[in-house]
């Protein structure tokens, strides 16, 4: 392990994670709303926003799957040191992190069971661009409609169609994040 893995965690764990959680909760409760998170400085290619989510939500109780280029020694070491989360394959993951192409196929992830739909994976999708434009969102958390730049729409429509089963998504770009829970109905703009 290089010393780089030891750096970049929250300076004030309790306060930084409380603020990061508020940003994540508001994002998930209000799909399409962009939130800013600060405090984490993870190694590339993990974005600061995705790093903050890991520090806030992941620990030895949650299995994390790193997809594609994110599955590198620096990111593995950083997550292992700061969160202590076991790294695993897609099917067993509580959280999965990667770019949209790297995270495919979505069928690999747990979508919960009929009696426990909460036992489903949360995907943290690293995107190059995140803006409140593009696909039209409707559903709980949204007053009328909202818009969010999504990598595609068909996959999210299929995901919403399986409600109450399904996956929940965070999108991270730099220190900004947005979210799309399984309840959101997505249409092309």
């Amino acid at each position: 392990m290089q010393t780089q893995a030891l750096e970049g965690g929250f300076a004030d764990v309790a306060v930084d994670s409380a603020q990061a959680f508020r940003a994540a909760m508001v994002a998930l409760a209000r799909p399409g709303r962009l939130s800013e998170v600060t405090g984490a400085a993870p190694p590339a290619p993990l974005s600061p926003a995705a790093g903050a989510l890991v520090l806030t939500l992941c620990d030895p109780d949650t299995a994390v799957h790193l997809a594609g280029a994110h599955d590198c020694a620096q990111v593995r070491d950083w997550i292992t040191f700061h969160a202590g989360a076991p790294l695993t394959e897609a099917a067993r993951a509580d959280f999965a992190i990667g770019t949209w192409p790297a995270l495919q196929p979505l069928e690999a992830y747990a979508t919960g069971t009929a009696e426990y739909p909460d036992r489903s994976a949360t995907l943290i999708v690293e995107v190059d661009r995140l803006a409140a434009e593009g696909a039209v969102l409707r559903g709980p958390g949204i007053d009328g409609t909202a818009r969010l730049s999504l990598p595609e729409t068909a996959a999210f429509r299929a995901n919403a169609g399986r409600f109450p089963l399904g996956l929940d998504f965070f999108f991270s770009c730099g220190n900004r994040l947005a979210a799309l829970p399984r309840t959101t109905q997505v249409e092309d703009s």
């Binding site: 508001v26 409760a29 109450p164």
Partner: protein, 304 residues
């Protein structure tokens, strides 16, 4: 009483012996994950590993744990118990977070960013900048109809809610109307039947399409559930017996409000009674603005 009451939350009195907001970080992460899944599946009860808190079960340990995992140092906390800011439970929980989290507290609904509540929704309309956290005793709406958790879980998964309608029908056949007056079951986004906690059914319409985030914590029963903002919440009823969010047919005796939920207070041994707003902040603000009920007295700053 003036609205802000953070006199005991001076920096020097915040307890440094505990982690911010009392709970350890791993517990908060577990609660936070449950809250997120709850928001993703509105009305579904997410199991969580409820902790022992320094207060007994039944005193709001579920709400306190959700509040502890939600609060940031920038928040302003309000705690109400049956609408009142000045009852033992509300005062204790407010002081608990003043000391363990150092957050500002208030009694004014409009100034609060996080409101923990036992069995009421404030009369003042909530905003997008607020989070309402309910203390829940029995989170399972079907529990008194079916005691087995394995069966109620199956009923939720199969969307099998006939038993609840039979219960409401039996109310009508025995009493001529749906007699359930609090913890009145609701259906969330046409999917999960949910217990709104023992709020009066008068408050049920405020659950729906609410701009604020609503979180529910049941400590003893170890369940968290949630309603994202602008979620459709319908009270169960029948076409020929529509839902009726009733209240005492009386104006508030102190502030004269016709639209607020009222408590009936017995004032002597001869059965004399008066009706007063259950929401003390709403009543106080109205009296401060010059409204007066049949038995009210002119509002004085600092008076009860």
């Amino acid at each position: 009483m003036t609205a802000p009451c953070n006199d005991s939350a001076q920096k020097g009195e915040t307890m440094e012996d505990y982690n911010f907001a009392y709970l350890d970080e791993q517990t908060k992460r577990m609660i936070r994950r449950a809250v997120l899944k709850g928001l993703a599946i509105p009305g579904y009860q997410v199991p969580f590993a409820s902790r022992e808190m320094p207060m007994p079960y039944g005193w709001g340990t579920g709400g306190v744990q959700v509040s502890a995992a939600t609060l940031t140092p920038d928040d302003t906390l309000k705690v109400i118990d049956q609408g009142a800011d000045d009852t033992t439970n509300a005062v204790s929980i407010r002081k608990f977070f003043e000391r363990t989290a150092g957050v500002a507290t208030t009694e004014a609904t409009a100034q609060a960013t996080v409101i923990q509540t036992r069995h009421r929704i404030p009369e003042a309309a909530l905003t997008e900048d607020q989070i309402l956290i309910y203390q829940v005793p029995i989170p399972e709406p079907l529990r008194f109809l079916e005691p087995r958790e394995t069966e109620t879980r199956k009923m939720h998964s199969l969307e099998e809610y006939g038993l609840m309608h039979v219960k409401l029908y039996e109310d009508i056949s025995q009493h001529g109307a749906i007699a359930t007056s609090y913890a009145y079951p609701v259906k969330v986004e046409d999917r999960y039947v949910m217990d709104p906690s023992p709020i009066p059914k008068f408050d049920n319409p405020k659950l729906s399409d609410c701009p604020a985030i609503q979180l529910f914590g049941a400590g003893r029963e170890q369940r968290i559930y949630a309603l994202p903002p602008y979620t459709r919440v319908e009270s169960l009823d029948f076409e020929d017996h529509p839902f009726d969010p009733s209240k005492a047919d009386h104006p508030c005796d102190l502030c004269g409000a016709e639209d607020s939920y009222l408590d009936e207070v017995i004032t002597d041994d001869a059965g004399t009674r008066m009706f007063v707003c259950s929401d003390t902040d709403y009543c106080r603000a109205r009296r401060a603005a010059g409204h007066m009920g049949a038995r009210g007295v002119p509002f004085e700053e600092g008076a009860a």
